[in-house]
């Protein structure tokens, strides 16, 4: 499938997950997207899946504790100063699960976009929004680049006998990682300008057409959206 329509389908799935109020619909979308992501390269997909599921887990845990809604108590706890009465209702649990599943579905849609789509062809197919598509493609590359740089930093530290243990040690690496990515971004911008980026009169290489017609896939995206909302 061409990357443009595939991106439209993934976008439709993410929007459907965000708009749907039904737990089962969102769960079904997440399961389908997980199946899609598992087709991604094994060595690259772990970071995306791990990040998505960890974030989803914490949303599922924290939302019921912080929310105050519903009357069907599953557990009534003590009253804590500042926070007020602690408790867990069925409605809060459902809201937490729904939020977590939505986040997981959106995360998985992004993972599928990052892992499986040909971003160059997306840029080519972007028409008038080529600059925006290029910016998105470059931003998407930030995740694997940060992961590679992070591994490199850890390796260099191990190489001189420095052990990195625990959350605090890892957190200290965030600042050099971000500084490194900013520096990389500046170097890239300089190289792009030197290669004529931003000149008027740019052309583009002829794109390779996909196997499916765009209208068919756009219709499929609309169906996914409508189906999720109806269910």
């Amino acid at each position: 499938m061409s990357p443009g329509p595939a991106a439209a389908l993934l976008g439709a799935a993410a929007v459907a997950a965000l708009l749907s109020e039904r737990l089962l619909s969102v769960a079904a979308i997440a399961v389908v997207l997980l199946g899609v992501c598992l087709h991604g390269p094994k060595d690259r997909r772990a970071l995306y899946l791990w990040g998505t599921f960890v974030a989803g887990f914490w949303v599922a845990v924290l939302t019921p504790l912080l929310a105050a809604e519903g009357s069907h108590y599953l557990w009534e706890g003590p009253t804590v100063p500042v926070l007020g009465p602690l408790g867990l209702t069925a409605e809060e649990l459902e809201a937490g699960l729904l939020s977590a599943l939505r986040l997981v579905a959106v995360g998985l849609a992004f993972a599928a976009y990052a892992l499986l789509l040909d971003h160059d062809r997306l840029v080519q197919a972007a028409g008038f929004a080529r600059r925006s598509a290029l910016a998105v493609a470059l931003a998407t590359r930030l995740v694997p680049t940060l992961e590679r740089d992070g591994r490199g930093l850890l390796e260099a530290l191990h190489g001189r006998g420095v052990e990195v243990r625990g959350v605090a040690d890892h957190a200290r690496l965030l600042s050099p990682l971000l500084a490194g990515s900013l520096e990389r971004g500046l170097n890239l911008a300089e190289a792009m300008e030197a290669r004529g980026y931003g000149r008027s009169g740019a052309t583009r290489a002829p794109a390779i057409r996909g196997r499916l017609d765009r209208p068919a896939v756009v219709a499929a995206a609309a169906l996914v959206l409508a189906g999720a909302l109806w269910l």
């Binding site: 094994k42 060595d43 040909d118 971003h119 160059d120 840029v123 080519q124 290029l134 493609a137 470059l138 590359r141 694997p144 740089d149 490199g152 930093l153 390796e155 260099a156 530290l157 191990h158 190489g159 001189r160 006998g161 420095v162 200290r172 690496l173 050099p176 500084a179 490194g180 520096e183 990389r184 170097n187 890239l188 911008a189 300089e190 190289a191 792009m192 300008e193 030197a194 290669r195 004529g196 980026y197 931003g198 000149r199 009169g201 740019a202 052309t203 583009r204 290489a205 002829p206």
Partner: protein, 464 residues
Amino acid sequence: MALATVERVSFAYPDSEPALRDVSFSLEPGEAVLVLGPSGSGKSTLLRALAALVPHFHGGRFSGRVDVLGRDTRLTRPAELADTVATLFQDPEDQVVMARVEHEVAFGLENLGVAPQEIRPRALAALRAVGAGGLAARPTYELSSGELQRVCFAAALALRPRLLLLDEPTSQLDPNGAAALVGHALEAGAAVFVTEHRAERLLDAVDRILFVEDGRILLDADPQRARAWLARERPAWVAEPTPLPEPALDEVVVSVEDASFAYGGRTVVDRPSLEVRRGEIVALTGPNGSGKTTLAKLAAGLLEPAGGAVRRFGRAAYLSQDPGRYLTRDRADEEVALGIGGDLERGHRWLAAVGLGGLQHRHPRDLSSGERERLALASVLAVEPDLLVLDEPTRGVDPQRKAELAELLRAAAPKRATLLVTHDETFAAATAHRSVAIGGSSRDPNASNSLLLASRGAGSAGDD
């Protein structure tokens, strides 16, 4: 008419000392000019001035005038000069825009407004011209640094520039790859302005040589006169390595026996054996992609072999080939002291040992690329290991500093075993007691490096 003229140019980056001071010279069409000089002397800034990136991209204080084919760079943006000037920067990983090689080469052509039907043929032709035709369909993130450097060079050639600016273009390439790239550059028909620390190959191949120091041009001469000047004034740039005395060998510090390792099913190291003893420096050489870095990591204990055995006796330290991995603290001395329990005094001593004395308070990211390389080196040397593994320690390091580094390594050699991974034949010959070649042709992925591993005296390292 000159292709480019530089008239009395001075330039300082924002909040910095001048990087260029009253520089003047001109470039003729088709001329090849080699620019030599110490790290941080202003060579890269000179290239950027010719591409109009200085002052447009970097800001700062600029005076004087640079003209390229009659276009004043103060009034012309770098993107508008891209049809005339193509630049290959030092670090290929920071230049890649697209996800696939063919699209990467096509990127510049699209920006220049080349007719769509011409873009693909020109991109593929440029890739074939640099021996990278087979990479066209590959994702750029899968390529090695050497392969990426060839792809970036193809992207520059595809633009058919009148002026080709090359900033240390062979820093990631093995000797054969470096020679091929230099040959392609000189045959491209464009004027070539190239900075290089491994200058041996270029000294007699170019028309002129500039020597830049502290932002000033000290020499502008033909190769013959330049050689004489360098021999007299800056001998490290043309010095021949002298044979090393036989080392007094002690116990084995690392022993690699039939080790193998694969990345995602692709075998990279295939049963080589290697032994390094205390007292000796062993250079590990071989073409790009032959598994040198992986073997070095196995020796240092950063990777575990899938088969065979690696035995180490004592503490190992490993210097990565990317100096950007040694920029984790806010001060240079803190970075060096990280591996020695925060001992800043020892950190200062090691900074001085690599020529960075006085820069201990500087933020590591404010250092030039050559200074960063030396900071990384100090960070690893400070650990004082039994086994020291150095992966390409001379990238961006000028010949004077290389000579000092060779001296430093040789002086400390009796205390430890040293494994040195390098493409720099001159440095290997000046530093190592013996040289071990790994791997065959990088174009033959099936070549088993166990069959091709060969050992010999370092003096013959340049005989490949």
